[in-house]
Structures are given as C-alpha cells and as structure tokens.
Symmetry: C2
Amino acid sequence: MSEAVNGGTLYGVGVGPGDPDYMTLRAAKVIGAAEVVAFFAKRGRPGHARTIAAGLFSGNCREMPLVYPLTTEIAPHTEEYRTQLAAFYEESTAAITAELQAGASVAVLCEGDPFFYGSFMHLWRRLYGRWPIEVVPGVTGMAGAWTRAATPITWGDDILTVLPATLSEEMLTDRLQATNAAVIMKLGRHLPKVRRALAAAGLGSRAVYVERGTMSEERILPLEAVTDETAPYFAMVLVPGEGRRP
Amino acid sequence: MSEAVNGGTLYGVGVGPGDPDYMTLRAAKVIGAAEVVAFFAKRGRPGHARTIAAGLFSGNCREMPLVYPLTTEIAPHTEEYRTQLAAFYEESTAAITAELQAGASVAVLCEGDPFFYGSFMHLWRRLYGRWPIEVVPGVTGMAGAWTRAATPITWGDDILTVLPATLSEEMLTDRLQATNAAVIMKLGRHLPKVRRALAAAGLGSRAVYVERGTMSEERILPLEAVTDETAPYFAMVLVPGEGRRP
C-alpha cells in the first residue's frame, strides 16, 4: 500500500465475518492508527463491527457510534423508511466531514466487505471525490460461513447467485432454479418463505443453515434440521455447488 | 482461533486478491509458522499465491510447488482433461500426506478464498476427515477488484450473480438478464463472447473491466474502452448493482 495513514483521510475498513483473526493486515494497521473510529450500531447495542475490531483500537482514539434510526416497524420500500435513513446518512456524513475538516483520520468499520451490501456505501457515495478515501476489502460474512460449514461453495464452472431473503417467494424460487450454488442472506423473519422456495427449486436437502458464522455463538446445521420460524440477522443459507471435481 | 499451529495439520490458507496487506492476521500467523508451504503454479512460473505470501515464509520452511499438468490445449469437459487433473490432484495429495504423516504442518496457499473456485478444494475433498484441517477464509479476487474499481457491487436488495466466462453465450446472456449485479470470472479468450452477452443483456455500458486487481500491474477501465480480444487469467468484468440508495 502506497498511501500512508494520515489525518484528513476517510477509511472504509472491512473487519471480516466475525472472528477478529480474519481481519486483514491492512485493516489492523488502519484501525490501530485511526484518530476517530466510527461504526454502525443499533440503538442500545455495541455494534457488531466494533465488537470485532475493538481489540485493535489505539488507546487515544475517539469512538463515533453511528446509531441507526428505529426503522424495524417501517417497510424498506416506503418513502418514510427512505427519508429516515437518508437523514441518518446525511447526519453521519456531516459528523465525519467535521472530523476530516479538522484533519483527523476517520476509519469506518464495516462488517464483512465494505462494498458488499454495506452501510458504508451510503457514506462513501456522499463523500467520494470530496476527500481522500481508502477502502480496505474484507472477508465476507458468506466466506466465513462456508468456511466454517466445511462446504466449498463453487466448483469448476458453477454459477453462484447471492439472494437477499427479502425477495418474493416467486423470485427466490426462479433464481434458485437457475443457479448451481446459492447464498441467501438477510434471513430474519423470511426463513419460512426461503424454506418453501428452496423446496420448490428442489434444493431443500442441499441447504445448510449458518448462524453467526465464525463468532462464538456459531450454529451450523442442515436447513432441514432447523425448526425455527425466524432467524437472527447474522444467519444465512448456503447451497453448495456440485460442479466439476477431477 | 482455538486451534494451535501444530505438526500434522493441513491448512488451506486464503492469501487474498494480490496485495500482501490483504492477507488476514490468521493467514499471516499460519504461513509464518508452517513447516511446509505448498502452492499451485503453472510450469515455469513462480505461482501467484506464492508471490503474494512469500514475504511471510519462515526462514526454514520447506516449499512444495504443486505444478499443474499442461492442459491448456485440452478442453475442460473432456475425459482426458479430467484424467490428467485427477492424477495431478492424487499426486499432490500423496505428497502432502507424506508430510502430514511425518508430523509436519502443511499450509496450502490459495489465491483469494480457498472455498471459492479454489484448486485447494480438490485436495481438501481427498483429505477431509483423515487429517486435522483448518481452512482460513480470504478476501476474494472479486472483492479486491470492486474495491479498486471504486464500484460498490450490491446495494439494498440487489441480486449478485457470479458467472464463469466459460459458459455459453446464451447462458451468460440469460443469467445477466436475470440479475441486478454480476461478476464474470475466468475471462481469458472468452472476452469477445462476454462482450456480446453483456450487450444482449443491455449491460454493456455498466460493465467495468479489472485486470490484476490490487496487484502492481493493475488495469481498470470501462469494458467499452477495452479493445483486447483476450484477457489474462486475473481479469474479470464487474457489473455494479443499482439498488436502493437512501
């Protein structure tokens, strides 16, 4: 890396799937040198990314929690949801901008990889071109999951499709039928729908359920053995490919 | 990580997309402690994974190059290809087994992530259950590519489809039409076909070409500006999603 860790630079730092040892060397260096460490968190929670990276914070760094508004009761496709989240990202951007203007280096911690379904992207698009930005890629949550599940995900010429569980049952079924391997993210209350879509696509028996992959409360079992009606945020379903194996 | 780096253990170690700073803390620890470091390489080449990780080798580790047979002239779907590669993986497995039997720790270096289109998987499936194995996930080549291209790949409820360029033009077009974001891997001589499939799916203008992402000879430009008829192995095409952006 040619870029030094200076003040006035924004870092979007992937902290990986959960196990702190799965942070990159670059992430460790940037986090340890940052004057301000920012992280997303739900109200009243410590923030998953902070939990992963806290062991690397320098003794005198300042912490900037970015606390999501309470949107759990609002559907993500409504204008109200969009408005509340946009205001939140604008406020977060303003807080970070103030630090950058004062010459501070700001590291925003991101679960997994910053550019793969990451909240950081909403700050990035507001700050890109205005400040020096370095994005540090990370091990994705899905890579942590398939590693711990001992299920190589793609072989030979396998197609991999990553599907948010928020999609309709029809769309999920259709896309599952057209792929060799799949990862279904953001399970939550969508678990029963995902189960039906996998069954309709003939993939129920191949599906593996991974909850909190690489974290201390990790839980991995065949989806058919899972009787829960809802899943936590850090849960996903893997459908390993079956491609060429010389 | 609870497991120590002992003799008689096999490690499949993701070394990330190319920049050595994108190796994980766990990868660095395992590589630095390994008695034997194995890596895949084409004949006469140093091996990409070795190049990435060599700075971490201990002074007294033994290197075990696993040199692919010359299969470039053989189509991957033929029996001859399968037979030659199977023999190669059997020989590699035997060489690693001999080291494990002698009590040595063996780290097999893997570009990107070991369980994502990795040659290591072919050793893993021959050794799984017979020896202690630890797989260390890595930053994928595609994450390195979308980071350096400054293109967040998936927003909101975007579907991501990962497609090997080896697929037929019809299949590529069909799958590109059914996704929000895409990564097309293994470009090589398939570049003209990929270009046609993207055009047919109406995605030509959104496609970004990334060659050797995060490496010193990195080359990133809109696919429409690429006039090459073939691409190197470390080249891919990204089609960034355009999902929800509050």
